[in-house]
């Protein structure tokens, strides 16, 4: 038994809505937001709460057909029902679906309810086969969709019988009309009249569909963005003096005498990690720390906003000519066969860019699914269409759902509760958690926030010392309790201490751990569970390929599994480090975001404190598909 059957346009208008019982929680909206908008249409079905949603797309008309049924009572005929309805609906209202005004004004429910009930009853009985295309020509034109696996086997004769029955039904509306009630008759009559009218109109003016302006504009913005800039330098040869400063055995032996000397060394270290320019302009607190990328972005936006129009009128000439001819020629429909070889090529490109292989496959599958049945211009190429679709879907995927202004959130929390804002950094060994923590600390400091660091890595030798160096360089307080203590108790002590000292932000450094290390993951979950941090950031390397997804998912799952609360904390954001060392192999970010929907907050692009940037999505997309 199904709960709900909906037919809606990609623009959001519901054409047909048949609810057999009331469904809680707007499952269709959930389907759109978590599946269709992020290009996961290849998934096949979505389970959520008590419901399972299945869907099929009709890209030719921009329609989505969705069926909702109880999770515990899965129905086997969902695919048959969807395909049947799609076929019948599209065939019957073919003309109406092409005109926007008719699409909005026609009462499809009135006109289609009876047919739908029939299809539903038939498919429930299980005696309905997928409709055979009436003519071979028709099949080629419509780009027939994949067959559902669970089609009931029907005897040949029966099928043939049914086939003719169906044909008869579609061909003669008038017969069925006589059986219907008067109201429906009116509606049918009206629809037929509309179809006639449309046909007439069409004869008068040949199709000259307006080119999708949004699409073309998108092309233009992408083409205006610049290439990759070379990132920070890797000049960190330690001088002898610096090496000495790092040698803690020396300092500890005669600390008192060498205190001043150490300070001097720290000074030299500081000058090494914080570029001189920054030091001078530190008073100029704000955006200077976010130099390169922001500036580039600004430039990019500048071209976007002001001179885009000029460019637009410049290219108008060429584009106008082209689209004029485009309007004259016929359009070809994209079929699965057309798309497949090109999609495979794109998938390989994605994999060479370090995207995890199954993610690349899924991404390409759903792009293919959304493109099937679209019209292809004579002058357009398949690969360009796929590239555009991929660019758009990757850009959408990487755009965070909420505005992620960390500083605004911190200021807000401070004002409301007066407690310090706690950020926990976790990740695999050696990805640069402590360095990233120092960078974030510098970033927050330059926004006039009082920061404190808590050393909760009580596991690895030298971890506290490493943080102490950073803390001295940055002039922030370090909270430490030495080694072999329980990290979660150290963190809670640090939070108490921080609230006493009226600190704005507390950054908690944790020990690096492999995602498979059960006891350590439990310890992390305990830390998060006890201290209730405001943000949990996962620090990951941009260098990883297939492992990226595994790391992030296991961290997230471990956090959820090991917390005994109803609303477990999950990872809030990703910080990608070593982004300067990967050139254009940016795939790890795609893998991570696609599999978890967690936004990328920062990327680390160098060795100094200022090398922490926000993600430039347009550059990223370009690098990925180059």
């Amino acid at each position: 038994m199904i709960d709900l059957f909906v037919i809606f346009t990609r623009g959001g208008f519901v054409l047909f809505y048949d609810a057999l019982i009331h469904t809680e929680g707007r499952p269709i909206d959930r389907l759109i937001r978590s599946v269709l908008l992020v290009d996961k249409a290849g998934l096949g079905q979505l389970s959520y709460g008590n419901f399972t949603v299945k869907w099929t797309l009709s890209n030719q008309h921009g329609l989505v057909f969705a069926v909702v049924f109880p999770r515990r009572l899965p129905i086997s005929y969902a695919n048959v029902l969807l395909e049947q309805t799609k076929d019948s609906f599209c065939k019957r209202f073919k003309e109406l679906l092409q005109d926007e005004y008719q699409l909005l004004t026609t009462d499809f429910y009135q006109a289609f309810a009876r047919d739908f009930q029939k299809i539903l009853r038939n498919s429930e009985d299980g005696d309905l086969e997928l409709p055979q295309p009436v003519e071979e020509e028709e099949k080629n034109r419509r780009g027939h969709k994949k067959e559902p696996q669970n089609t009931p086997i029907v005897q040949k004769q029966q099928a043939g019988d049914h086939h003719t029955k169906q044909e008869a039904k579609y061909q003669s509306h008038s017969e069925t009309q006589t059986q219907n009630g008067t109201e429906e008759e009116d509606e049918q009559e009206r629809i037929r009249r509309n179809i006639e009218k449309l046909k007439l109109k069409k004869m008068k003016k040949p199709e000259s569909k307006r080119h999708d302006s949004l699409q073309t504009k998108k092309d233009e913005t992408l083409s205006t963005s610049r290439g990759k800039k070379n990132t920070g330098k890797l000049s960190d040869k330690l001088s002898k003096q610096e090496a000495k400063a790092l040698d803690y055995s020396l300092i500890n032996s005669n600390q008192d005498e060498e205190e001043s000397q150490v300070n001097q060394k720290i000074e030299s270290l500081r000058s090494h990690f914080i570029p001189q320019v920054e030091e001078d302009e530190k008073s100029n607190s704000d955006s200077e720390s976010f130099t390169e990328w922001e500036k580039e972005e600004e430039e990019f936006k500048g071209t976007n906003g002001t001179s885009l129009e000029r460019k637009f009128s410049g290219t108008l000439l060429s584009r106008g000519v082209l689209s004029f001819f485009k309007g004259l020629t016929t359009k070809k429909e994209l079929t699965k066969e057309d798309l497949e070889p090109v999609l495979n090529k794109f998938r390989d490109t994605l994999i060479t860019k370090n995207v995890a292989s199954d993610i690349a496959q899924r991404l390409c599958d759903s792009v293919g699914l959304t493109l099937q049945g679209n019209k292809l211009d004579t002058f357009g190429s398949v690969s360009r269409i796929i590239r555009n679709a991929l660019e758009i879907s990757v850009a959408r995927m990487l755009t965070p759902r909420q505005s992620d202004d960390l500083v605004a959130d911190i200021v807000n929390k401070r004002r409301e509760t007066g407690k310090p804002f706690v950020i926990v950094f976790c990740g695999v060994n050696g990805v640069g958690k402590s360095t990233t923590l120092a960078k974030v600390c510098y970033y927050l400091q330059s926004n006039d926030l009082k920061v404190m660091i808590a050393a909760c890595d009580t596991f690895r030798a030298g971890a506290v010392e490493q943080l102490r160096i950073h803390a001295r360089c940055l002039n922030v307080e370090l909270f430490e309790k030495g080694y072999a203590k329980d990290p979660s108790s150290v963190a809670s002590d640090a939070i108490h201490y921080a609230s006493e000292k009226n600190v704005d932000v507390l950054l908690v450094d944790t020990a690096g751990r492999m995602q498979d290390n059960e006891p350590l993951m439990k310890a992390l979950a305990k830390l998060v569970n006890l201290n209730k941090p405001d943000r949990v950031f996962f620090v990951g390397e941009a260098l990883v390929g297939n492992d990226a997804v595994d790391q992030l998912l296991k961290f997230n799952d471990a956090l959820i599994d090991n917390q005994n609360t109803n609303k477990p904390r999950e990872i809030d954001g990703i910080i990608l480090t070593k982004f300067d060392s990967i050139d254009d192999k940016v795939g790890a970010a795609v893998s991570m975001v696609y599999s978890t929907n967690i936004p990328i907050v920062f990327v680390g692009v160098g060795q100094t404190y200022v090398d922490l940037k926000k993600m430039n999505i347009s550059w990223f997309v370009k690098a990925l598909l180059r």
């Binding site: 623009g11 707007r26 002001t306 926004n447």
Partner: protein, 250 residues
């Protein structure tokens, strides 16, 4: 009198006897005609680029419905509310038409842009090319969602601040007025304005100087780049006359 001995016409005529020149001339004429047709085509299809009337607003979240952008578009297009509640849009709805219920308005290009944050980059582009912006605000949930609404309005203001063209009108359409107690427009203006001012102070440190748009509500809502006005109505009930009046005025 019209055709004198040495007029241009008589000079040109002998050339036309040559077949080659005739061919060239006729092809020139053909080309000219083609260009004319093309110019007309381009004019029809590309001139409305800067005359878009953009309908924006926030998308629904989890269990909540959206602010009613698509519904407003539907009412303007067809004159009546949709039969079923619309769902989250994935692509913009776009159409060139005269809004229903208006006698004086000319044909205009309406764009109903989805509110989902994932389309933010595309939205920025649209905002920069809009002639009029209609921001749909869900009044029935204004008090609980005020911060999110403020952030979203603030982002539009900030985008518009960057461009230096003549002021564009923004209408903040207080939708779903039928679902809540009477909500005076002055009050909406007051609390929305205050929230935006509050928010811009918070982002000021990280966003740089240009993130501060104004210091008081009046200068925030009316400046050289845009002028904001407020109207209320209910798209789901078909009450959109205020929007049409607003479009009439400008």
């Amino acid at each position: 009198m019209l055709l004198e001995e040495n007029s241009l016409f008589w000079k040109v005529l002998p050339f036309l006897e040559n077949k080659f020149t005739v061919a060239i001339v006729s092809s020139c004429v053909c080309l000219f005609l083609l260009i004319c047709i093309w110019v007309l085509y381009v004019k029809r299809h590309y001139s409305p680029v800067r005359s878009k009337i953009l309908i924006v607003g926030r998308s629904g979240e989890d269990e909540q419905p959206g602010s009613g952008k698509s519904t407003l578009y539907h009412v303007l297009r067809t004159g009546k509310a949709p039969k079923f509640q619309s769902v989250t849009s994935m692509v913009p709805n776009e159409g060139t038409f005269i809004p229903r219920g208006s006698k004086t308005l000319k044909e205009a290009n309406f764009v109903d842009f989805p509110g989902n944050e994932r389309l933010k980059t595309e939205l920025e582009d649209q905002v920069l090319h809009a002639k009029v912006i209609i921001y749909v605000l869900d009044v029935s949930r204004l008090e609980t969602e005020i911060r999110k609404e403020a952030i979203s309005v603030y982002n539009i203001f900030k985008l518009l601040k960057k461009r230096n063209r003549k002021a564009i009108p923004i209408l903040i359409f207080c939708n779903k007025i039928d679902l809540c107690e009477s909500f005076p427009l002055d009050k909406v203006r007051q609390i929305l304005g205050e929230e935006i001012l509050k928010y811009q102070r918070e982002v000021a440190p990280s966003g740089g100087d240009e993130s501060v748009l104004a210091t008081n509500i009046d200068s925030l809502l009316a400046c050289s780049q845009y002028v904001v006005s407020f109207e209320s109505g209910s798209a789901a009930q078909g009450v959109v006359e205020p929007v049409i009046h607003f479009l009439d005025r400008i």
